[in-house]
Amino acid sequence: MALPKLEAGDKANLDDLRRAQSRERFLDAELDRVRSAATSWRNGLAGLLAAITGFGLIKGQSDVSQLSPGWAVTAGVLLLIALVAGLIGAIYVLRAAHGLPLATAATRLGGWDASEHREAVLTARSLRVGIACALACVTALVAAVGVTWYGPSRTSQSFVEVITDSGAWCGQSPHPTGSQLSLQASSGSIQLPVSAIKAIVPVDSCG
């Protein structure tokens, strides 16, 4: 960037004075201001995460192993996304609120005011990334809880034994087709007359 040349300007007026004073006030307080905002965001996001976590414990099944395999994997991936986003968000928000303990070569130090401004800009950027990651974490967490609550459970795919006048058949996914009941057995699809069915009993497996 080419440096400008300086020339005397027009005679200043009170508007110029107020603009210059306002600019100095903004710059003097910007790091404190953004640090304060970061601390508030840190507390707010921590509270939001705690509330979401607490809400997830209120009701609904909480054991992922009870879900059918595909949905269990989905819940696991969502929880992993929530964990990674939460970790990254926490690091960025904490960096924004408290800074990083870095050592810099004294010979490379610039002006104090410019360094403060640079830190304020970096803090604001960290805070924005942290907020985005924290919200992504909350979203993934809510989705994981929703999947765990409302996803089909493993028991919904368990086996049933259909008892008729002429014997008992074991299989999965019974569903009526006209006057027949279709049952998926290991040997293939079985059609059983509904009128002959005496009982349908859930079983752990077709042994």
Partner: protein, 113 residues
């Protein structure tokens, strides 16, 4: 050598002329810093002319390049940290203020953020 004088908000064209001779621009990561002596109290001071300022409500940064003007008038105040009698609590410097014009050579291309 710093000249001790009570705080007074004053300006005249002579202050701007002296400041134009005294101040030197230096490049920083976020803009330009003007360093020189206050034309009134003679204290060494800095004026920060950055491209963006962080505000409380955290705006997303503008993606557009900062505007490049060939002549840009900048209002300046004394920002020295010496004590000046009668200075209000929320003020800084000796109270002197003036305008400087930053002249950018045409054909230099856009400034970098």
């Amino acid at each position: 050598m710093h000249v001790d004088r009570p705080y007074a908000e004053k300006t005249n064209e002579e202050l701007a002329r002296k400041a134009a001779e005294s101040f030197r621009p230096t490049e920083s990561a976020d803009g330009i810093v003007l360093t020189g002596k206050c034309p009134e109290c003679r204290a060494v001071m800095e004026i920060r002319l950055f491209d963006e300022v962080v505000r409380g409500w955290l705006p997303w940064p503008s993606r557009s390049a900062p505007s490049v003007q060939e002549r840009r008038s900048v209002p300046m105040i004394c920002t020295c940290e010496y004590d000046h009698a009668d200075r209000p609590a929320n003020r800084k410097g000796c109270g002197a203020y003036w305008n400087l014009v930053l002249v950018t050579e045409s054909g230099d291309g856009p400034a970098e953020a």
